[in-house]
Subunit: 158 residues, 2 copies
DNA sequence: CGTCGACAGACAACCTGGTTGACCGATCCT
DNA sequence: AGGATCGGTCAACCAGGTTGTCTGTCGACG
């Protein structure tokens, strides 16, 4: 396998998985969720987070994070609330539907995972994941997928 | 490994590989190339192609393909020439620097590939790639990575 | 031979997600 | 108290993609 093919297939596998999950999500009453949103919800997490924290977790500027929160809020998946401790901060937290999506998403990911484990065999799958783990262990997980493809990598945010 | 983690790691591996190649490319006199451009150059290939062919190969609209060609042309990697057989068609072809980039890119991908084969071991790597191949074999290779992340999937192009 | 439909490419307008830059109020620290 | 700093938002802009429209060229058929 050439290096280029390897890269392509890695991406195809990733995309296949994510697509599958989003089809399932759409069929269960959440047709508007986009992969970006999923990442963001994940980053918010059950404990909530501020826009700034989100920004660093997602590897984007705080403005971009703010916009994502706007979108999620419009979809009804998160809510913004003021922090009584510090009037500057606004903590965004999952709504009921928000955590429902998060839970469903996790379930569907696991289901897709289980399916391909079944097709390739238990042992192979284990070995595969082991290799994948060692490859990606030192890599910092950055989720700013969209911008990364097109942009120069310069990013500063004040 | 949870399904979500699997997806994340697949993406991280892909991204890691691509990033590495583009760092190498930048160090060898091609700092402006973006992943998108790489895909497009690949799609043009040594034989050249029309904008429409590019569009279907990349899985985007012909207008988008046209814009990409504009960018590549501005960078000096491709040239547009009229087709003497059919005055409607304009075939885009790689310039000398264009095919240089393509060649370098292939070499760097292979180098990165070889490096991780070395780190995980020959046998593991082989098994890994075998699994990856079976997973992604039925998947149609679509390279419209950027739009896929944010858009709804509705796409029609006349 | 002429005409009418299909095809290839380009232009314009718009959307999304991201970025930079500037700004405002709240907090902290001296 | 007062200046620096932090958290968040507004505004302008850019890249890449999409839809819709239009022009020029082929080709096939009457």
């Amino acid at each position: 396998m050439s290096g280029g093919e390897l890269a392509l297939r890695l991406f195809a596998a990733f995309r296949h998985l994510v697509d599958r999950v989003h089809v399932d999500l759409a069929e269960h009453g959440h047709p508007r969720v986009r992969p970006t949103h999923g990442f963001a919800l994940q980053a918010v997490g059950p404990t909530g987070a501020t826009a700034g924290e989100l920004a660093t977790r997602l590897g984007v500027t705080k403005q971009a994070a703010g916009k994502t929160v706007d979108a999620l809020e419009a979809l009804g998946y998160v809510e913004r609330a003021g922090d009584p401790q510090d009037a500057r901060r606004k903590i965004v937290a999952l709504t009921a539907t928000g955590s429902e999506v998060l839970g469903l998403s996790a379930r569907f990911f696991d289901r897709a995972h289980a399916q391909w484990v079944a097709t390739v065999g238990d042992e192979q799958a284990g070995a595969f994941e082991q290799v994948l783990r060692t490859i990606t262990d030192e890599v910092t997980p950055r989720l700013d997928a969209a911008s990364w493809l097109g942009d120069d990598g310069r990013r500063q945010d004040t």
